[in-house]
């Protein structure tokens, strides 16, 4: 290593050799080696993340099975996740029902099927928009809050304190939140569906002037039991994904305020992507099941 307190002109042969080694540009091989190392690092970190997440989820299921959750913790989680989310989920559902009516009315009217708008709106709501929007709202309102809360607990050593007192933090902190999300998201989805259906119906009947009787008649014909089941079934997976991602992010939160903020953001983004991914996969699977059952839905 050259002595940096000396001028270059004062360097001996050995120091100049060191300096040349230090200052030369990396060769192509060294550049390639560096890129490969970087790609390897990224890949390894992703594999570690997936492994860690899987192990975390396994722990959640383990603690859910071996020890009963305390009723007060469960009630608190249900209140936070279910009751407090209800207004925003209902409001979102109602607006999306109305927006669907606004967007689809012109097209349906142009082909003379404005009365069938109810079927389109309600089918979209029950199968896709209701569960997905309820899940997105839950990821935003509850998921971020869980990640930030648990992240703060991690940073301030409260999770360590729980562990040190012989209380498993996954059992105490994660399981009630997981159960809250898992069991209450179907109810939230149903509420979003109902509000969306009524919002769409109100706009169609009272603003666009569609006849109430044919509107509901079409809705009744086109929305079947399997459609309602599809939405609720999917919502269970969304709820589980939101809770696991949010809790995992909180538990693995980096130190400081930035770490907590990052945990909340990553929790929402990852949940959102996962909701859409699960929606696609389950959509394909459930459609196949639907076809096997001989149900071929159609609006027109």
């Amino acid at each position: 290593m050259p002595d940096i307190s000396k001028k270059t002109s004062e360097y001996g042969a050995e120091e100049i050799t060191d300096l040349v080694k230090l200052s030369r540009r990396p060769t192509l091989l060294e550049n390639i080696q560096q890129y490969v190392e970087e790609i390897g690092d990224v890949f390894a970190s992703r594999v570690i993340y997936v492994g860690d997440f899987t192990s975390f989820a396994g722990n959640v299921f383990y603690w859910m099975g071996v020890k009963t959750v305390r009723r007060d913790a469960l009630a608190r989680a249900f209140y936070q996740i279910g009751v407090l989310s209800l207004p925003v989920v209902m409001l979102t559902g109602m607006f999306i029902g109305m927006v669907l009516a606004v967007q689809c009315h012109a097209q349906f009217k142009a082909i003379g099927m404005a009365e069938r708008l109810g079927g389109a709106i309600n089918l979209s709501l029950v199968r896709e928009l209701g569960p997905v929007l309820a899940a997105v709202m839950l990821a935003g309102r509850v998921g971020c809050s869980i990640a930030a809360e648990l992240g703060t607990m991690r940073v301030t050593e409260q999770i360590d304190a729980l562990t040190s007192m012989g209380t498993n933090p996954i059992w105490y902190l994660v399981v009630p939140r997981f159960l809250g999300c898992l069991l209450l998201i179907p109810a939230l989805t149903v509420m979003a569906d109902v509000m969306g259906i009524y919002g769409g119906a109100y706009y169609c009947v009272h603003v666009l002037g569609i006849e109430s009787g044919p509107y509901w008649e079409n809705s009744y014909h086109f929305v079947g039991g399997f459609d309602i089941f599809t939405g609720i079934f999917k919502s269970l997976f969304f709820g589980a994904a939101i809770a696991l991602i949010a809790c995992h992010q909180g538990f693995r939160c980096d130190a400081g305020a930035e770490g907590v903020g990052k945990a909340a953001t990553v929790s929402f983004v990852a949940s959102f992507v996962m909701i859409l991914f699960i929606d696609l996969i389950l959509g394909i699977v459930l459609e196949r099941v639907n076809q096997m059952l001989g149900n071929v839905p159609g609006i027109v």
Binding site: T8, L19, S23, D160, A161
Partner: protein
């Protein structure tokens, strides 16, 4: 003394060291206050804590390397060392509070390997410990009373009245008024929060108290209050204490034995990480310049080293 097994004093030698240093044999009967220490030195069987070649890599940095040490029941041991030497990682590793990327070695409590236990066994084992965290780590969502009664509520069948009585007794023991019972941690000063954390750690009647920098961030008077609390806790509850600190005054006042860790970044690969293991009296006589630099709090060449390290690498 070092962490090498051959150089670690045997139980009988350790017994002699402790007894001679604190209660000279020629004085005859041990005073009443000596009971915890007396108990520590006369017990047979495996030592309370054995750490066997513990190495930890945390966030890609080796933090602990082949740590070997033994702690007897009833001892209060202060682990000192500069920031980043792995004191807190060591303390938390003892009861598995951190999940490092890599860990090797064993931690044995009463001869039982902690890392070899199942998750549920570890959870049960941790109830023997009381942990006082650096920033108290009280639960924000609970009152001070709820914080202190939390372990009782989780692990005992005590009634609300019984828990209330224990909480009030513990509050008094750490010098907090009953009025803090209903307050939230955010409403208390740092010293009060730390004492509330202390009370919570005592709630289950632990056998061992682990203190993570208990006097950090406190004024000198409050620091000494915490020192007194640690001494009183040892006397009243007959607990073994392991304290991590860089407060030399606190370490000398509280500890029967001081162990000094040194950062791995400043050590050669073959050098042991524990550079001192002895009594508070011995540390003052220690001739190792690294130890004397720490206990005197001298920067010496450190600033120059650091500024040199961050200078631009290439000369003009």
């Amino acid at each position: 003394m070092s962490d090498h097994p051959d150089e670690t004093p045997t139980l009988s030698k350790r017994r002699r060291i402790i007894v001679n240093d604190v209660y000279p044999a020629e004085e005859g009967e041990y005073p009443a206050e000596a009971r915890p220490l007396e108990r520590a030195v006369v017990e047979d069987g495996p030592p309370f804590l054995q750490v066997e070649s513990l190495s930890v890599v945390f966030q890609r940095n080796p933090v602990l390397r082949a740590i070997r040490l033994t702690i007897n029941r009833g001892e209060t041991v202060a682990i000192i060392g500069e920031s980043g030497c792995g004191k807190t990682v060591f303390l938390k590793s003892l009861i598995g509070l951190i999940e490092p990327e890599y860990r090797q070695g064993n931690v044995l409590f009463d001869g039982n390997d902690f890392y070899g236990m199942t998750t549920r066994q570890q959870t049960r084992e941790r109830m023997r410990f009381g942990f006082v965290f650096q920033q108290a780590a009280l639960f924000d969502s609970m009152s001070i009373g709820e914080n202190i009664s939390f372990p009782l509520e989780q692990h005992t069948m005590k009634t609300d009245e019984e828990m209330e009585a224990i909480v009030l007794r513990l509050l008094a023991e750490v010098g907090l008024p009953p009025s803090v019972h209903a307050k939230r941690p955010g409403e208390l000063s740092g010293g009060m929060r730390k004492r509330a954390g202390f009370a919570r750690a005592l709630a289950m009647g632990p056998e061992v108290m682990l203190y993570d920098e208990p006097t950090t961030g406190l004024d000198p008077i409050m620091s000494d209050v915490i020192n007194e609390l640690i001494i009183n806790t040892k006397k009243q509850h007959e607990v073994t204490g392991i304290m991590v600190t860089h407060d030399m005054k606190s370490a000398k006042k509280v500890a029967d034995r001081i162990i000094m860790f040194y950062p791995l970044s400043r050590l050669e690969p073959e050098e042991p990480q524990i550079i001192f293991d002895g009594t508070p009296e011995e540390i003052d006589r220690c001739r190792d310049p690294r130890v004397s630099q720490f206990i005197r709090g001298e920067a010496r060449e450190r600033l120059m080293e650091m500024t040199e390290a961050y200078k631009p690498q290439y000369p003009e």
